[in-house]
Structures are given as structure tokens and as C-alpha cells.
Symmetry: C4
């Protein structure tokens, strides 16, 4: 493992363990990736079927643009690697993070018929890349889930082209995908979007007394 | 303690402490077991009445197929050991985990009259053994609770035979039972089912504004 | 500090830090005590106004039956020490724990007009001293809060005599008081009652779809 | 770094990491400050855009009364530094803390048209400076959010003069500001107000069965 890959692997594993503590990647769900090289494309990717609460740096795989494992690991890369690759390609992202939280899962269902939901007016939106004011309307597209990973990757690419300003999207009854220029920014985006989804979800049930 | 038992005991204790952090085994509730040997049957079993937030490997007992403590401990095995033994026998499970979470407790009541609840369409279902698509309907049976452990064990055996594909069941106003080929899989099943129960529970109260 | 006091102080401090993590004793609220001696009465007591998330063994005070600090500390004992002393006297308790959780605070208000609430049918009730079946009805009395500590202590004593089987009580818009033969049992009682209060509180808002 | 600044920086960073664990400063949101000197004014201030879950003492900046960084750091001070400075000036506060929690964000919206909300009758209120009884009505003003920091600072100053007894205020769809004579008291105020906001928020949705 090169120094750079070792550092990235360590950060990815730590990020995964932190997400697991919050209940965002329970039961081996979710996946995390970060770009190691662009030409040729090399991604550090979380392995399939591993408890993310105990994920270690040495378990992080390196995959190529065909999602094949090119590092010296016998593990299988995440099934959703093609989605990560497609997002890296379309957006030039430096890291892609996918969580399965309660609120993202629920709102992906509640707003599925609208094809997405708009989140507006929250100061928290300012932490999203390029957003400088709370008077911003963030459209979070919702895609139907699918086990056909090729079709889903195409659907993701379409969505990213249609919504060039989107910072993430939801897969119905599945979870949240977001990304960033680097892992730190991607992590920030996860925290912000998960926060906003919970705020919107809870606000839908809020009333006011007196 | 043999190496194998020591390792199993350590993992069981760590799993218990993790569940306690999440609030899934508060107040000495819940129990955890893992198969050490099959012929004769020997299970590593959590002791009765111990704070699972402080559970140590050396406190894990070894019991036989009659739920008698055969290790050198003066503690009492969990009262629910017969249920663990029955599940290991019926399903060939390698580990059985029983949690007392808020959401499993509440939904076990809400859906008791239906004898169970169906959980469908969630990507999270794919983490359950043998499930390969989110387009899966998981039936989680609900059994009436009882202090007659022999009758309850028979009831559990009946349920397991009637629902050969079930990955778990609920005891009314009591909690969740699930299992796996090994402790890692059982733990994954707990996390997935607890997540899904919370998702279903919260979805029942969700509305949509605008 | 004698060995026994040192051990009790260490356990009390650890219990406090654990409760703080769960959000049960935020903002220096709550108090914890354990009996060190009975004749004369000596209690280990948490100090007033200290962040329980950072409470250390050396900060635990020793008080007498008049709630006067008899250890070599310049800190003030909790204002509610008289309540702890009264419970120890009335019930022969070995430890008394008082938490300020969201759910205990809310239910203490919801059911105040009834003077208490009944919690029934939950397996979790079996962790309460003397309770052997889930088919148990636990009456949790609710007392009006007061800043007159002498009057409140009398009110507590009355309640304990009227409800000899009660394992705890709520102070309206204040929190939960419970106790045990020793700190381990008191801690178990806190976890069980806090769990049950959340279960009842959430069940009140639960609906069922389909 | 002087000893005093080093100690303050260490406490600020630890406080930030604790708030991040609770989900109160996710996605680099929120800011924390503490007075190091008054003549001239020197504040220890959290840097802009840093993950507060990993904030270290050496990252804490020192700023002057113009919010300029006067310590040897290349980082940028929080955009909201002028608000901290204004609160320190108006109230003589020794520390100012700003969190972005779910409940403060939601209630800041629910009660915005009323210009604030009254929180009464909770024992938890006694932890607020100068409050000696639960029979206290705490008015928490709500200000409209703005990206014009100068205007917002003036608005904050007006609010503080109009509500001399207020222990904090909310910025709409933004979060909570509170302060204290020192960091320990400010932290206590955050915990108390966050607790009360959650209690009020959940109470609005509570019903009672039977």
C-alpha cells in the first residue's frame, strides 16, 4: 500500500466506523469510496458484506474503472461500485459516500411520487459546496431502486446531468448518495443532508400548542 | 477455556456491549448465544442478570442441550436458554441473539393481532441470508409472550416450522429473536431487523406537507 | 477515602457519566447516591452543579443523615439530598438514582392529573425487584414538584408508604426517582423504567397502516 | 500559546467534539468561543469549515474585537464571529456557544411568527443562571436569519437589550445561541436549552391513551 492509499484507506475506515455509530450504515449496508488516481481510474472502496462498525484500513480495497479489485485482497468490492464510478466520472468527485439511514430511507418513500424533494431556507444548506445563503432551494432527486446495476448506473448518470447542481440523490427505500471534492467534503455533505432529511421528516409531524 | 471458546466469548461480550450502547439490551435484558460444539451441543451463553454494558468474556457461560451450566461459573444461565437451544436445533443456527429494543417492543404490540408483520421493498432486506433483492416480502411472526419457557420453546419451534424462510420473530411486548450461521451474520440480522422495525414504526406516523 | 468508599465513589461517577452519554443527566441535572454506612447513616452523594459527563470519583461527597457534607470537600451536596435520605430510610435502599430524561419529563406531565401511570404487560418489567412475570401492573406515582425540599421529602415518604410496591416515582416536569438494594440494581431500575417510559410515550403516538 | 489560552483551547475543542457526538454541530456547523482577555478583547474561536468531531486544541484561533485572526493560524475564523463578539460585549459573557440541532432548528420555525417561545414549569430551567425555581417562564426569542452579518449582529444586540433576562435565542431555521460566565456555564446552558427544546417539541406531538 502506498502512503497515499494507506492514508485514504485509514480515513475511509474511520468515516465508516463513525457512520456506523450513528446508525447510518447498519448491517453491512452502505458503501464508501475515494479516488486514489484518475488516469487510470483507481478508487479506494469499502468491501462487500463487512461490518462497518469494525472496518479497518487494511480491509479497504482498490478497484479500477470496471469495478474489478486490483489490490491484493480476496474480498469482493461493493455491488454498488459502478454507481460510485459513474458519480466520480460524471461529477469529477474525489469521494462518494452512500448511507442507509432511517430518515433518508423514509423520505425517499414519502416523496417518491414527486421524483424528489426540495429543501429550502435552512442555514445548514450553506455547508453544501457552492451554496452561500440559506435562501437556497436544494432539490434532492429520488430514483427508483433496482438490482440491475448497469441500468441503475445509467439512471444515476441521467439524474446527474439533469440536475447539475444537485449535491446528492436518494434511492427509493434504499438510501442517500452524496459526494465531494475530497472525503472531508463528502463527509460534510453526508452529515448536512442526513441532518436536513431528519429535520424535514420530523417537521412533517410537528404541531404547535397554545 | 479453549481458544475457540475464548474467542467466541470475547465476541459475544463485545456484541452485547455494542447492543447496550444502542439501547437494545438495557436493564440486563436480552440474551446472546453462539454454538461452540454440536455433538454434544455446547453453547456459549450470556449469564442471567448481568449488566450487558459491562459484560466481559470471562462472564460468558457454557451450557449444554438441557441449558445446564457446564463451565466453571457460579452464575445462572439466561432463563431463555431453552429458546436459544430450540432455534439452534430447528434452524442449525450458529448464533442466536435476542434484543429488547423500543421499536421491536412497540411493533410486536401494534401488529400482534395480525400474528406478524410484512416488511417489503427495502434494500436493507438484502442483508438477510438468502435475500437477493429489495423486492422481497419478509414476514416477521409475532408470538404471544409467556413465562412457561417449555411452552414458549414449543411455540417457537412451531413458528420456525411454519415459516421456514423467516429470519426472526417477535415476542409480544418482549422483543426480537434472530439468528445466523455465525455470530457475524446473527449480528447483521439484528442490525437489519432493528433498522427495519424502526423504519416501519416511524413510517406509520409520517405525513407529508406541501 | 476508605477502600469501600473509594469503590462506591468510582461506581457512582461511572454511572453518572454513562447516564450523561444517554442524555439522562444533562446540564448538571440529576443526582446519584449510595449507602456507605447505616449506623450512623453515611451516603456517597454526587455534588451539586457539576457536569456529570465529566464526574470523577474524587468529586463524590460523603453526607450524613442531615445532608451535611462530612467528607473533606468544599463542594455542596445536591439540593435533593433530603429526598435520597428519605428513600434510603423508608425503603432501606442501598442506592438512589435520579434522572432527568426527555421521556420521564414528558410523561410526568401527560399523566399528572391521574397521579401516576400504570405500565403493564412488558417483559422488561421482570427486571424490577420482585417482579417475576410480564403480567404485572407497575404503578408509577407522579408527585407535584416543589422547591420546598422538606415538604417534598414528606410527600415522597407518604407516596412510598401508600405504594409499598412502587419501584420508582416521577416528579412532575422534573424527572424519575428510583432505587435498589445496591447501585447495580438501582442502575438496572433506571434503565428499565426509562425504557418503559419511552415505550409508553412513543406507543401513545403510534398508528398502524395497511 | 499561553497556558491560559492552551487550557481554553483544549476545553473548547473537547466541548465541540462532545456536541458533534450528540449531533448538535454536524457538517462543520456551529461555533464556539471563550474570552481570553477583555482589554483588549481577545476571544478563542473555533475555525471556519472544520469537522467539529475531530477538532483539536491547536486548531482554535484567537481573534480580536474586529474578528480578525491574531494568532499564528492560516485558517479563517467563523463567519459568525461578530455575533459572538456582540454577545460578549452586551452580556459580559465569558463564553458563547452556537449549536445547530434538529430540535432548535425545528422549533425556531414553528414559533417564528410569535417571535419566540415561552418554556415554563420545568425543573431543568433551574440550571439557567439566576433561575431558582421551576415556576419560571423563560422566553427564548427567535430572530430571522440573515447573511448580512452586520445587520444580524445589530439585531442580536437589540434582542439582548429588549430581553435582559434571556439566556439564549434562536435564529430561524438556523439554531441556538447561548452563553455563560465561563465555558462550563455556557455548556450547561446549551445542554439545558437543547433538552427543553426537545421536550417542548415532542410534547407538541404527545397524546395520551386510556
Amino acid at each position: 500500500m502506498s502512503d497515499s492509499f494507506a492514508q485514504i484507506a485509514s480515513s475511509l475506515a474511520a468515516t465508516a466506523r463513525g457512520f456506523h455509530l450513528r446508525g447510518w450504515v447498519l448491517g453491512t449496508s452502505g458503501n464508501l469510496s475515494a479516488v486514489v488516481d484518475r488516469e487510470p481510474l483507481r478508487l479506494a472502496m469499502s468491501p462487500s458484506g463487512v461490518d462497518k462498525g469494525a472496518l479497518l484500513a487494511e480491509q479497504i480495497l482498490m478497484i479500477d474503472e470496471q469495478a474489478r479489485v486490483v489490490s491484493d485482497h480476496r474480498a469482493r468490492a461493493s455491488d454498488e461500485s459502478p454507481l460510485h464510478i459513474r458519480i466520480v466520472t460524471e461529477r469529477g468527485a474525489g469521494a462518494v459516500l452512500h448511507t442507509h439511514s432511517i430518515w433518508s430511507t423514509m423520505l425517499s418513500d414519502t416523496y417518491a411520487d414527486d421524483g424528489g424533494l426540495a429543501i429550502e431556507g435552512y442555514e445548514m444548506l450553506k455547508g453544501l459546496e457552492g451554496v452561500t445563503t440559506h435562501e437556497h432551494s436544494e432539490w434532492l432527486p429520488i430514483l427508483e431502486n433496482s438490482q440491475d446495476m448497469r441500468a441503475l448506473a445509467d439512471s444515476v448518470a441521467d439524474t446527474l446531468r439533469q440536475h447539475k447542481d444537485a449535491h446528492g440523490f436518494l434511492l427509493r427505500r434504499h438510501g442517500l448518495y452524496t459526494w465531494g471534492n475530497d472525503l472531508a467534503q463528502a463527509k460534510r455533505h453526508v452529515e448536512i443532508l442526513e441532518f436536513l432529511l431528519e429535520a424535514v421528516g420530523r417537521a412533517n409531524s410537528m404541531t404547535k400548542k397554545q
